[in-house]
Structure formats: structure tokens, C-alpha cells
Symmetry: C2
Subunit: 440 residues, 2 copies
């Protein structure tokens, strides 16, 4: 990964960060790096994520793939949030090959039923992923999948891999049915687990080189050092931190590659759950180049000066020539390739934001391949950890999501919780519908 923060400098953009400010910030980066190094060395909660490229053993993952008693046409991954997004990001980036991949990461009954109805169940493998083994959405969906298989006479126990913590209902289930079990690594929050069995099993089923993914991450790990000027990941974390303190409360992640659309979604989780606390944290927005030039770009160029646009662009792409149209107005496209068109659109969009004085950052990768994507994910994780250190925030917890979990459980009769009682006290001001406007 290479980064270019030139268009985030105060000489180009507002908000922007001056070269002098970056130099001063670099002293704090050095101290933050010491803190991060100590956390890594001790395998401290969260910091352990930055050791995954060297800690993750690919052998059990290959073993779990080999243990499937079918040659799968489809793979259903049942998980939600960090238990699904890493694997989905890797599979969408690298392609799913001959295997149809489905991620059951929502509990919408219509959608779940439709997805299951369209699957070749007798040739479908299952990976159920939950550290605690009690995640309501994941367990509910897994029970639905299991029943659907049983109802069609398919033995779910010969094609199910369980990814979970050391104990809990899923671990017990795996032991009871002698299912292959992969470990959710200790001390690593879900959103940082892409480079562990949580993220790597699905790409392995699709035939991807998971060693290359880890190798790319290891190369990025080697760059972690006490200066943002020698570490692309830290340069990104420090620049986004500096821009946020100067007013960039929105971070639009805009890869110029269709296959990285899910990466932008993964980034949104990483950024929002890790840094969105104590009244701080950029709002991550998923965008996609070139498509969203025709959607979000208007606001980024002419709306409030509150947005950093982060581009990800591969240096190499496939080629696809644009045939001659025989239309005068389109002569300039003839003989070019789609790859030249999308690259020109990227450069034009980057320049158009600079011309309007809006900050952008460019992340360059060699191509959308296993090694580069592994490095990209690791780089964003390290950037996020650094940004948390600089902001004085604990990047590894997500306390604000617990309230709704307790309320949900209470609403479904799973216990008495003050939170579920609060649901009934909602203030209403309704307009439309059978009753017209009314206030309670």
C-alpha cells in the first residue's frame, strides 16, 4: 500500500493539515507507536489484532476445507457484523470462483427464505461464525438453515464448520456433532478479525491463496514504525485524525474498483465502531467510483466543508477495449479501454475536489489481488488503532450497541430489562396513515 496525502495539505484544501502540523503530530505518532508496540508484545486485548498476520496458522483453515464431505457448489456463511464482513470483503474482492457465496448477515424473513429457496442445499457447505455462540441473529439464522437442510434430507453435520470461541453453545454443538471447529482468536474484536479464520475460511473454500493474503498483511506490518512519514498506515491514521479535529467529520471511502465495494462497507464498520465514541469519530460513508460521481460527488465538492474523500485505486487492471461507435461525439472513446476510462475518471474526480479545495487522500494498491487486499485491510486496521490512540479513545470496545441488544432480548421475552420497558414509552408525532396527524 502506498499513500498520497498531498491533497489533504492545507496548501490545497480546507480543512487541510499543514506540513508543519504533520511534523508536530509525528512526535505524538512516535509515542502512540510505543503504546501500540507494548500492546502487541503483550497480546493485549485488541492490540492482538495487529499480530494476526504472524499468528494466524493457515493449516487448520485448510484442514477445515478438506474436512467438508461434499465438493461445495455453494457456501453459506452465517454471521453478522465482524463475523461476516471480513470474509465477504475478501470473497467480493477476489471473486468467489466456482462457488456461490451467500452471507446470511440479516434476519429479514423474506430475504432469508428467498436465499435458501435458491440454494442447491445438497451441495451447500455452511460456516457459522459467532465468538460467544449466542449472537441472536446468527443462531436464529443457523437454526433456520439447519432445519431447511434436515427437511430436504441433507445431513448438515457433514458440511458445517463452526467458527467460535473456546466455550459457549456453538462450541458445545461442534463437540456434540464432531464438527470441524475454527478458533476466533483471543482478544481480537470481530471487526479486526478478517485476517484470522473468521475472515479466511470463505476465501479458502473459494480456492484463494490465503497465505498471500497474510503475506501482504505481514509486509504492511513491517512498515509500522515511529513515524507517519515512513508508514503508510500511520500516515492515513494521523491524517484522518488531523482532518477530523479540523472539521472533517465525514470520511467517504471511495474505491475505484467494483470489487472493493464491500471493502468500503468493512471500512465503515471498522471506523464507526472503533472511533465513534465519546462524542468523536468520523461518520464513514461507503462510496464507489466511478458510479458515485453521479451521486455523492456533488455534495463532496459543493456541500459543507466537512468531508474527507478517501480513494483506493489499483495500479493494474484487466483490459476491455471500447469498440468504435461511429459516432462523432464519441470518437474520443474509440480505441481506449474501459480501464483508461475509469482511471481518467478517478484522476479527474480527485483533481476536481482539489480544485474546489476539498481534502482527499489516495491509497494505491498494486492490483485487486490477494496480497494487496491483505495489505489494505491490515493497513486500515493499523490506521484505525493509531487514530484511536491519537484521539485518546479505546478503539476495541463498542459499548453503545449493548443497550439495543438487551432491549431486543427483553422484547422477545428473554428476561426483564429496563431497556425494553423504555421502548413502550416512545414519544409519537405521527403524520399520514389512517389516523392523520396526532401527538402522544
Amino acid at each position: 500500500m502506498e499513500i498520497d496525502v498531498g491533497n489533504a495539505l492545507a496548501s490545497v484544501a480546507s480543512p487541510g493539515v499543514s506540513r508543519d502540523s504533520l511534523e508536530r503530530l509525528d512526535e505524538r505518532v512516535a509515542r502512540a507507536h510505543e503504546r501500540i508496540e507494548a500492546g502487541r508484545a503483550e497480546g493485549e486485548h485488541g492490540y492482538a489484532a495487529l499480530e494476526l498476520p504472524v499468528e494466524t496458522d493457515p493449516e487448520p483453515i485448510h484442514g477445515a476445507v478438506d474436512s467438508l464431505e461434499i465438493d461445495p457448489e455453494a457456501l453459506v456463511t452465517v454471521g453478522i457484523g465482524g463475523s461476516a464482513l471480513g470474509a465477504k470483503t475478501l470473497v467480493d474482492a477476489l471473486g468467489s470462483g466456482e462457488v456461490e457465496t451467500v452471507f446470511l448477515d440479516n434476519v429479514d424473513p423474506d430475504w432469508v427464505s428467498r436465499r435458501l429457496a435458491n440454494l442447491p442445499l445438497e451441495r451447500t457447505a455452511v460456516n457459522v461464525v459467532s465468538r460467544s455462540g449466542t449472537t441472536a441473529e446468527t443462531l436464529a439464522n443457523f437454526l433456520v438453515v439447519r432445519e431447511a437442510m434436515e427437511e430436504t434430507g441433507v445431513d448438515w453435520t457433514d458440511r458445517t464448520v463452526v467458527t467460535t470461541g473456546e466455550s459457549g453453545p456453538l462450541a458445545e454443538l461442534a463437540d456434540g456433532h464432531d464438527l470441524p471447529k475454527l478458533a476466533v482468536p483471543d482478544g481480537v474484536p470481530g471487526r479486526f478479525s478478517a485476517l484470522s479464520p473468521v475472515g479466511l475460511f470463505a476465501p479458502a473454500v473459494c480456492g484463494h491463496d490465503i497465505e498471500a493474503i497474510l503475506d501482504g498483511a505481514r509486509a504492511e506490518r513491517e512498515t509500522l514504525s515511529g513515524s507517519l512519514f515512513s508508514c503508510p498506515a500511520y500516515a492515513y491514521g494521523a491524517t484522518t485524525y488531523a482532518l477530523e479535529t479540523r472539521g472533517a467529520s465525514v470520511n467517504a471511502m471511495m474505491p475505484y474498483a467494483e470489487s472493493l465495494e464491500t471493502f468500503a462497507e468493512w471500512f465503515a464498520q471498522l471506523w464507526a465502531e472503533s472511533l465513534g465514541k465519546d462524542g468523536l469519530g468520523q461518520a464513514p460513508v461507503r462510496a464507489l467510483g466511478a458510479t458515485d460521481q453521479h451521486s455523492q460527488l456533488q455534495r463532496y465538492r459543493a456541500g459543507p466543508r466537512d468531508t474527507l474523500v478517501t480513494f483506493v485505486t489499483p495500479r493494474e487492471r484487466g483490459e476491455r477495449e471500447i469498440p468504435d461507435a461511429g459516432i462523432e461525439d464519441l470518437d474520443y472513446l474509440s480505441g481506449a479501454g474501459l480501464e483508461e476510462l475509469i482511471d481518467a475518471e478517478f484522476e479527474a474526480t480527485e483533481a476536481s475536489l482539489a480544485a474546489a479545495g476539498r481534502p482527499t487522500v489516495r491509497l494505491e494498491i498494486d492490483s485487486v489481488d490477494a496480497r494487496s487486499v491483505g495489505g489494505l485491510l491490515y493497513g486500515m486496521e493499523a490506521a484505525c488503532v493509531l487514530a484511536g490512540e491519537l484521539a485518546g479513545i479505546s478503539a476495541f470496545d463498542q459499548p453503545a450497541v449493548e443497550w439495543a441488544k438487551r432491549a431486543t432480548r427483553g422484547l422477545l421475552g428473554g428476561g426483564e430489562f429496563a431497556e425494553s420497558e423504555a421502548v413502550a414509552e416512545k414519544t409519537e408525532l405521527r403524520i399520514g396513515g389512517p389516523s392523520g396527524a396526532s401527538m402522544r
Copy 2:
């Protein structure tokens, strides 16, 4: 569509709008409505969009479907931005039935090649959509599709429908090959064209009841009136405007239905291109319930007080029972359905944001059906037009995207443009890669 803005009131949330402020704002809503009425009556540019439910004639759309000389297994829609998102939203919401739908709305060569390689070209219909007939991305992709068909001996002229303006290269192409032509309605910007042939052809090919879509939109149009307290669409437009002026610079659109994920993307374009100008405009963020509770929710509850979360929730869903797990900790799920789980998660999330004093708005629809979705799209368009009036912004242009279009054209040798020369003058501060840190 019914709206509940109770959780956006100042008594619940900060930022929030007091009941008194809403009453005062209602006088401005009345004046804005007069302006909108005048624009609609005169078919004025942009305002014409609000007349589409009564102006759109479904007959030519059915005629174009009937004119296809194949019974399509797949439909490729070639368009970008507003020329694709309305149709994609409707097809994703209502399902594509027996027809595989592909939207070529990006110029990524790897992705385009992969999509084409997987299509049954001899049973694939094509809809190419561009008002001007010169949109670079759309024309490039259309030429690629046409060539791929020619190379496999498929006659593209017997299954291609052209949706375009009265003149231009695409109109000429249609006339030259005697292709069925659908009209992009006059005076309607692309992002407001979902309820015209631009948005309705694809759902018609998939067998959906496009009259019901228009019917739902007509019902919403009937509610437009001089008071936000009697019009759900205006209540949404006025509330979002009031919240933006009080600090809610981010609007996270979070439908609790997997099939409405693309609707959130459509909304993002509508909101960003219409309202993101003159230094104003909320940053629209696409979210999805319940999935993004495990991703974005942390920030919305505990990050900066800059975000309005807009929920869309259907009153009716399909059912899917959660089987008994025989696991004590999960007993509360047994006998419930996925529909109860997702509904409980929605109510819990809404209440959790209220408990943290964060503003939310709830949009309720009957179910994700043709009539309700038609009403939802129309309601959001009317809300957007009203918000533009209140902010003193022209909602119907998108001047900030022109710069990059000229730069792209210049970069590809399509003429001399000052914009493309600016691209070469980029400020660089590179870190990583072969050269290490460097500044130019």
C-alpha cells in the same frame, strides 16, 4: 407512507426541533408549497418530476416489453446514476422474478467482463438509458455489450430498448435500427425519474405491476398540501431541514428490510445531488437494519451529535419460524419468527437512540410491495424538493459534477480543457511504495 417524527422533537433529542418551531416552520412550508404548486402546474424544470405519477403512461412501457423478440432470461440495464438507480431500486425491492437483472452502472473492466461472461447472451435483453445519448460510461458499456453479442452471433437489434431524449446519438441509433424507444421525460433530472419509463421498464420486464407503483405514488401526491402536519412527505422534508440547521449534517437512511438496501442508495443520490450545494446539504449515509446495528450504530449513539437516523420499516413481512435450539440461553428465540426478531431489533434500536438523545425519524410502509414502494419513492422526492425550497437551494441541478466530466474528456483526448491540465499539477506527499516518503 406514514411518518413519526416524535423522536426528532427537542423534548427527546439534541439536535431536535421543538413543537413550536415546527408550527412556525409550517408557515414557510405553506409558502414553499405554493411555489411547488406553481412549478408543477407549469411543468417547470424539475418540478415536473412531481407530476410523473399522473403523466407517465404505462402503455409504451408495456409495448416495449412486448416488442422484445426473445423471452428474456436476463436483462442488462446500461446506465449510470439516475439512469440506473431508480430501476435497480424497484427491482431489488420487488424481486426480479425469473429474470436475472444486471445493472452495468460502472466502467470497471474486470467487473464488466465478468458480468458479461456469466450472462446467457442469446436470452439477454438490453435497455440502454441516457438522456443525452452521450454519457461516456453508458455509451462505452453499451458498445462493449453490443460487441459481445455480435461476437457470439446474437442479433442485439431484436432485444434492445433505448431510453433517451428526443435527439442525440442514442435516439439516432434507435431510429437507424428501428429499435423500440422510450422517452426520458422532459424537465425531469435523472435522480427524479424512477417513476417514468427510465425506472419502470426493468420492473415491467420482471413482471411487476407498474400501475400499482404509479398508483402508490399518486396516493402520496394527493397528500401534498400547505401543511407539514397533513403531508408525510413535507413532514420529512421540513424535519430534516430543521434538524440540519440545528447540526444534523449527516442523514443515515436505515431501512429494516434487506430488499430496500438499494433504496437507501437511491436516496443517497437524491439527497446528495439535490441538496449538497452552496455549502449546505446533509451527507446521506446508506445503512441497513438489522445488519448495521453491528457496524454503524455505535457512532450514531455515541459519536458526535451530527446524525439523524431515518428508519424505514414495513408493517407486514413474510414469516419464518426460528426452530427450537434446545439451548437454554436461546430459549427465548424458540417459537418466535425472524420477523419478530427483526421488528424487535428495530424498536430496540430506535429506543436506544432516543435514550441517548439522538434524533431519529420513522417512515412506515404497509409492506415492501409495488404500491408502497411507489409511494415511498414519491414521498422522498417531494420531501427533497420541499427541503430545497426551505434551504433556498435549487434542487434540480448538479453543477459540481461537470468539472470532472470535462477533465475526463480532456484526459482521454476528447478536446482541450483547462480542467484536464489541472490534473497534472497535483500536489504529492507520498509515503510507502518503492520510493518511500517524498514531497513534490
